[in-house]
Structure formats: structure tokens, C-alpha cells
């Protein structure tokens, strides 16, 4: 082998080795790199029971209740399989809405209620003008109605 090819081989072997090492390290750290735990993981005791962790999921539609002080809120976080009730005192981010993603940091009380110290909104990767969003929502409604009619046998 020429010296040039030898160096090329060394660089290639080095990169492959490094890639394998990085993959193994990242796999080993997998659970620590998770930013939040889903309600299912919390119920399965995968989240730390002592101390703070982050709980992520969707704010269940119709679950948001405000107390009279105007700052304390109660809502439930769901991953459509399991739900966990959350209480939080403080200002919610603008994007916080029912049916939208949320990440709350805090700890789980013995009563099963998650007491959040910080609430962050998580938005998805979809961007569209409001009219399109309306049209999509309408189309979904129409589809649901049609499906209902088909199920009833009236169509």
C-alpha cells in the first residue's frame, strides 16, 4: 500500500470505530438523554419517583380548570393511553392549549397528582395559514359525519 492509501485506510477505520463507540455510548445513555417521560412511562415506574422529572404529553381537552386566584391551574396530561393530573401555579406559555403538547417539570405527589414548578409548551412541526387549518378541521368534521352516517346505515 502506498502511504496515501495507508492514511486513507487509517482515517476510514478511525471514523468507523468512532461511530461504533458513539452508538454504544448513546445507547447506554438512552434513558438519561430523554427530555421528558410520558404518562405511560410514569405509571410503569420508569420515571424517578424521588425528586424532579419532566412529564410530557397532550393537555386533555376539557380538563383545564382555573382557580379563583387566577394563577393556579389544574389539567390532566395524557398520551391517549394513561392520564396524570397536574397542578401548577404560575404563568402559562402562550402556546399552552387544550389538545396541544406540554412538558411540565415537577414531582409526583403520593396522591398521584403531579405538582409542576415549570410548564413549557411543545409545538409540532406543522406550519400553515389559519384558513388552511380551518379548512382541514372542517374536512375532518365532514369526514366524521360521513363515517357516522355510514355506520348508521343512512347513507
Amino acid at each position: 500500500m502506498k502511504p496515501r492509501q495507508k492514511r486513507l485506510a487509517m482515517v476510514a477505520i478511525g471514523l468507523v470505530g468512532l461511530g461504533i463507540a458513539a452508538t454504544l455510548v448513546l445507547r447506554a445513555f438512552n434513558s438519561n438523554l430523554v427530555f421528558f417521560f410520558s404518562p405511560t412511562q410514569v405509571v410503569a415506574k420508569e420515571a424517578p419517583t424521588e425528586g424532579d422529572f419532566r412529564l410530557g404529553g397532550l393537555v386533555e381537552t376539557g380538563s383545564l380548570q382555573r382557580e379563583d386566584d387566577g394563577l393556579t391551574v389544574h389539567f390532566t396530561v395524557t398520551d391517549t393511553a394513561v392520564t396524570i393530573p397536574v397542578t401548577y401555579t404560575g404563568i402559562l406559555p402562550d402556546l399552552f392549549r387544550e389538545g396541544e403538547g406540554v412538558v411540565a417539570q415537577g414531582r409526583l405527589g403520593p396522591d398521584g397528582i403531579f405538582r409542576a414548578e415549570e410548564v413549557l409548551a411543545k409545538h409540532d412541526e406543522k406550519y400553515m395559514p389559519p384558513e388552511v387549518a380551518d379548512a382541514l378541521a372542517k374536512a375532518k368534521d365532514v369526514n366524521a359525519q360521513m363515517a357516522g352516517k355510514v355506520a348508521e346505515g343512512s347513507l
Binding site: 406559555p93 402556546l95 409548551a121 406550519y127 400553515m128 387549518a133
Partner: protein
């Protein structure tokens, strides 16, 4: 114009060639930036959920793409320099680093400005944000290491190795939102999948990416020309060029 790549890999012939290319890329940068900003900030519709704040994306996403892309290009040049011992490859790698670092910084900074109103936090230690911060440290580390060693050939070898080691971070940044649950949202635009955004928004973002790309080429060519002059100042052709310039002036 037939391009002889072997001839162009010598600094003496690359120097005038780069000089001829620069004005074109500068013009393209200006045109594309104006078009992209106009499309992004005037024409593109308001987002249904995020309102006007989402427009940060037209700078944030192209900057983040460039930060990763420049690193990969830099790694290729560093690898070439290690394997082939070519002078120009090292010069290209060192010329790319400051621009890459700048785009990484812009991506992080605009991301903070976007995160505060949308998420409710300037910064969170999720996998995407943390790995992008590591990328910034890699750029800074590369530049510092290169500057710290006096002998240019040893500097090129040591810093080139650092760049190659750091290249594992790039796929981690890109796939972090897929591999782990992060606060950062997933990719809106990816290969083999319809983009998750309105056509005008996508257009503005792609034009801004092209603009950043042209900017990078223009600025890197300028920087590499300076680098060539500095390194080859003892050589005959540089001395001749200086004499010619003096004669003209």
C-alpha cells in the same frame, strides 16, 4: 471553460480563479437574501398556531442547516488534508470554520428568541439544543487548536483529527428529535416525505437557505484567498503579484 481540477488544487492557480468567482456569489447572495426575506416576512401567511413569531424560522432553520453542512464539508477537507497532504484542503477547512461557528451561534441565538415566546423558556437541556451547543464548541475548539500550534503542518494535522472526531456529532444533532423525545419539534422538511408546511413558507425557507449557501461560498473564497497569500508570501508568484499590484497603483 474547461476546469482542470488538478491544476486548481494548487494555491497559485486557485487564487485568481477564486477571485473571479467571488463577485458572482456576492450578487447571488444579495438577490436571494432580499427575495427570501421579502417572501418570508411579507408574503408568507401567518401561522395558525404560532402567529407571527414563527417567522424566526426563515433565519433559524437555514442557519441550523448550514451549521451542520459546513461542518461536514470541513470534515471532508480535513480528511483530504490528512490523506493527501494537500495544502489547499487545510486552507479551505480553516476558512470554513468561522462561518460555520457563526451559523451555529445564529441558530442557537434565534432559537432562544423563538423558544421564549413559544415554549416559555430561552434554553432547555434537551438533546437537540445540547448537541447543537456541542457543535459550537467543536468549531471554537478547532479554531483555537489550529491557532495554538505554530507549525502550520502540525496544526493542520492535530486540528484535522479533532474535526474528524467531532463529525459523529452531526448525525446526533440531525436525528436527536427522532431518537429521543425532545422539547424541540421534529423535522418539518425531510427526504422522502411531503413537507409539513404551506408552500410559500417552504419557498421562503429554501430561498433563504440558498442565500446562506451563496454567502458561505463568497466569504469562504475571500478568506481562503487571504490564507493563500499569508502562507505563500515567500513564493515567487505572490511576490510577482505584489510587484504587479504596486506597478498598477
Amino acid at each position: 471553460m474547461a476546469l482542470n481540477l488538478f491544476k486548481l488544487s494548487s494555491p497559485a492557480s486557485f487564487y485568481p480563479f477564486a477571485g473571479r468567482l467571488i463577485p458572482w456569489f456576492v450578487v447571488l447572495t444579495v438577490l436571494l437574501t432580499v427575495a427570501g426575506l421579502y417572501l418570508g416576512f411579507v408574503v408568507a401567511p401567518t401561522d395558525y398556531k404560532q402567529g407571527e413569531a414563527y417567522r424566526i424560522m426563515f433565519v433559524h432553520v437555514p442557519a441550523a442547516w448550514m451549521s451542520m453542512f459546513i461542518y461536514v464539508v470541513m470534515a471532508v477537507y480535513a480528511g483530504l488534508a490528512l490523506v493527501m497532504n494537500t495544502r489547499l484542503s487545510t486552507m479551505m477547512a480553516t476558512a470554513l470554520a468561522p462561518t460555520g461557528a457563526m451559523f451555529t451561534f445564529i441558530a442557537l441565538w434565534t432559537g432562544a428568541f423563538w423558544g421564549k415566546p413559544m415554549w416559555g423558556a430561552w434554553w432547555v437541556w434537551d438533546a437537540r439544543l445540547t448537541s447543537e451547543l456541542i457543535l459550537l464548541f467543536l468549531y471554537i475548539g478547532y479554531m483555537s487548536l489550529y491557532a495554538a500550534i505554530d507549525d502550520p503542518r502540525r496544526a493542520a494535522r492535530a486540528s484535522g483529527l479533532l474535526v474528524l472526531v467531532g463529525v459523529v456529532n452531526v448525525p446526533v444533532i440531525y436525528f436527536s428529535v427522532k431518537w429521543w423525545n425532545t422539547l424541540h419539534q421534529g423535522a418539518s422538511v425531510s427526504f422522502g416525505q411531503a413537507p409539513e408546511m404551506a408552500a410559500t413558507m417552504l419557498m421562503a425557507m429554501l430561498i433563504m437557505s440558498l442565500a446562506f449557501w451563496m454567502y458561505t461560498i463568497a466569504i469562504v473564497l475571500m478568506r481562503v484567498r487571504c490564507e493563500i497569500l499569508e502562507r505563500e508570501r515567500q513564493s515567487e508568484w505572490v511576490q510577482e503579484a505584489i510587484a504587479r499590484e504596486r506597478g498598477n497603483g
